[in-house]
Amino acid sequence: MVDSLIRWINYLVLIYVILMELQILVVAVASFIALRRDQFSQRHGRIRDLATSDTTPPISIIIPAYNEEAGIVESVRSTAMLHYPRLEIIVVNDGSTDLTVQRLVEAFDMVPIDFPIRPAIDTREIRRIYKSRLPLPLVLVDKENGGKSDAINAGINVSQYPYFMATDADMIIETDALIHAARHFIEDRARTVAVGGNVRPLNGSKVRSGSVSEVDLPRRPIEMVQIVEYVRSFLAARPGWSAMRSLLIVSGAFGIFQKRAVTEVGGFRNDHLGEDMEMTMRLHRHFLKLKQPYRIVYAPDAVAWTEVPTEWRILKKQRIRWHRGLIQVIWQYKGMILNPRYRQVGLVAWPAFVAFEFVAPMVEFLGWLIVPVSVALGYVSLSIAVPLALIALLLGSINSVTSLFLDDRFGYFNKAGQTLKLLFYSVVENLGPRQRSVWWRVRAMFWNSSKKVWGDMQRAGVGNLSVATGTSQIESGEVVITASSN
């Protein structure tokens, strides 16, 4: 009886893993088709003309900042270099305890102004608003501490334009990224409520004057593993889900939203660890409930770069926070699961997400416990257990390599050494890092610390990486990011 039960659990785990990897593969195929279609428009749609067109919708860029004195000035300078006809930059200082405000005031000759605000969303009190006297569309909102979401909401209240982009202070946005994202609003202004961008790890690449001058791979295994993960998430999954009108996450690091839609649903929630996913789900629920046509799309060519953790300790905290956020969102939107009222989101994407993102760590964890025990007790022979483990490993590796194929459109990492390194980590990622990540996610289910409204990762800032990290190198004015977190 026990023998049979354990054997069946083994088989169930295997079936689950196969189903999960197959689902990833199916979405990757959908992504491939979507990317091909998108590439045609990119090549032939005269996208670059939009940079000078008067029809390009104006965008407010909201940069929430908390203790960002190290890099906030460079971040604003980098943002101001974007090729876009009409934009305003709104830095929201969320009650920083350092010199974030002073740095901005000095660097951009900012003066306090009496700026009338239409408070569409409730936020913590705004202390003062500054405007730059330089020919730069820069506004600084100095408010009381209330968390990242609260800061974004304050930025929304202050913003002038009908669209806003929420980003992080340490992001490097490619100069034409906004154009690529705005294309979707131009194509379907009435229905498009959000466009998500493609976030790539910056580690290993060279940065010059606030923009990425040379894309390269990092040295550390922890960074390489994340490169593979990001490519898989942003190129093998999101384009496919977007094509199926079921994109469930518009990244908080690079997402453009229609202001009216966001204020209609009440702005970003401050009690969530995964505020970006929560907002995306809320928009889906809102418009599907009202039966109003809408679009939430992914723009693969709208690229922004971010530093990823370089220490396992930081990565652990980040992943636990992400998974806690996921659990919060799943709990809040459980009513949408398999609910026909929410159409493709409720019937396909959301259940798949719950089944393969939320449940996966538990099943995988169970598998690692049960398989060795089964082998040790003789319920399952080694000749079956080893091939089963290899199957799981191969499926994961195939998915990663497929993602790398999709990434080929960007033309990065063409050197033989780089390709080999990526292939190596596509396999190695499944031997240790994946198990570690699963363990963190299992822990996240039972982890219950106080609410953290700003991430734990400390960053050196785009312009000061060499100074703050101590391990970065300066090569003829360029900064190679090798270890940017501490």
Binding site: S53, P112, D114, P387, D408, N414
Partner: protein
């Protein structure tokens, strides 16, 4: 079962090998090909450049490489870069090479990729003889082909294509319509007459055309734009007002002033900005009234426009004594952001009472209007701000 697992394992291993190997091969090919193509392209760039400099338009080389895609690409790049008689010669050469006829053939009968590439190439060549084919392409089922065809027509710039473009405009989705309207701008003044006629009709994208007319800035469109101000379509009224702000004459000013009484605040706000752009003194009393508008944007735009108009700055100073606190606030905010407040603060130390006294008056009024924080931040001692405040309100 064991057998099945073994086969599955073998299959997956093979799949992984194939996918990984393919990725490696694709990257390797790209690496090699890229270098080779670059060298080949550079050779053609030198070759064609030399022929263009020497004016050798009948060179055999043009025929020899006529079917080479890379050679054609370089030809198109040259067409993009050069102008005048040389360009005209090169267009004739492309005709002689059979490129133009080939592209027009593809535009009418090729697959999706061929059609879009042909339209792109014809946009670079900009040969007036291809005009009928490009007009035909405006009805293509692929939006990218239509957009490229419209760009090609704009590059040719012949006014007779404008009507076709406007007819095609109404059949577009919103995204393509915006791009076609952008192309319309490329025609410049040649587009004005037909576009003005379109504006007086019932076309679906009249707001876009009104905007384009404003960008072109030709006063021939003024009548049609003034007429559009009476439209029931709010978007059209807004775009027409903005266009008149850019491209109107003093004749349009009374109509814009009338628009300051529109039911919709968005229209009033745009009208306020447009009046400022016209810099017409007749606007001053109207804009002063608009400082008390119920909508913040209208008040703000009216105040910002007053800064631009001769005599408007004085009106703004006087508005600091306005009985309506909202009008005072709008005036004060713009006086601060326009730099007038900063200048006045600088003048406080002047020895000349004719400079110092008005500056003192302005600073005091701004402080009373609640802008004391600005002066404190600019270095004025808080005690002095309090003294200037007089009325007993707290400094914000």
């Amino acid at each position: 079962m064991t057998e099945a697992i073994r086969y599955l394992l073998i299959g997956l291993t093979a799949t992984f090998g194939v996918v990984a190997g393919s990725l490696f091969v694709v990257k390797a090919i790209r690496r090699r090909l890229r270098g080779r193509l670059r060298r080949r392209k550079n050779r053609f760039i030198d070759m064609i450049g030399e022929l263009v400099v020497r004016g050798e338009w009948n060179a055999r080389v043009f025929k020899r490489y006529a079917s080479d895609p890379m050679f054609r690409e370089v030809m198109l790049e040259y067409l993009r870069m050069i102008a005048g008689a040389d360009r005209q010669h090169l267009v004739e050469v492309t005709r002689g090479m059979g490129m133009v006829s080939e592209y027009t053939g593809e535009l009418r009968g090729g697959d999706r990729n061929e059609r879009v590439r042909a339209a792109e190439a014809l946009a670079e060549i900009a040969d007036p003889e291809t005009l009928p084919d490009l007009v035909f392409a405006l009805a293509d089922s692929v939006p990218e082909v239509r957009i490229q065809a419209a760009a090609a027509l704009a590059n040719i710039g012949e006014g007779r294509a404008v009507k076709s473009l406007l007819v095609a405009l109404d059949k577009q989705d919103e995204g393509s319509a915006q791009r076609l309207a952008d192309a319309l701008y490329g025609f410049g003044s040649a587009a004005v007459e037909e576009s003005a006629r379109y504006l007086t009709g019932s076309g679906k994208y009249r707001p876009l055309v009104a905007r384009t007319l404003g960008l072109i800035g030709d006063i021939q469109a003024e009548d049609a734009l003034i007429q559009a101000l009476d439209s029931t379509d709010q978007a059209l009224r807004i775009r027409a007002a903005a266009a008149l702000g850019r491209a109107g004459t003093p004749r349009s000013v009374p109509y814009l002033l009338e628009l300051l009484g529109d039911d919709q605040w968005e229209v009033r706000a745009q009208a306020a900005t447009a009046v400022g752009r016209r810099m017409d003194q007749r606007g001053v009393p109207w804009l002063k009234r608009a400082l008390s508008d119920g909508a913040w944007w209208v008040r703000h735009n009216a105040a910002a426009s007053l800064v631009e108009i001769p005599g408007g700055r004085e009106a703004l100073r006087l508005a600091l004594d306005h009985p309506d606190p909202y009008a005072r606030d709008a005036a004060a905010a713009v006086l601060l952001s326009s730099g007038m407040a900063g200048d006045a603060m600088g003048d406080l130390t002047s020895d000349d009472p004719l400079v110092r006294n008005p500056a003192m008056d302005l600073v005091m009024k701004l402080i009373r209007a609640g802008k004391g924080a600005f002066f404190v931040n600019e270095g004025m001692p808080p005690e002095m701000v309090r003294q200037l405040h007089h009325g007993g309100q707290t400094v914000r």
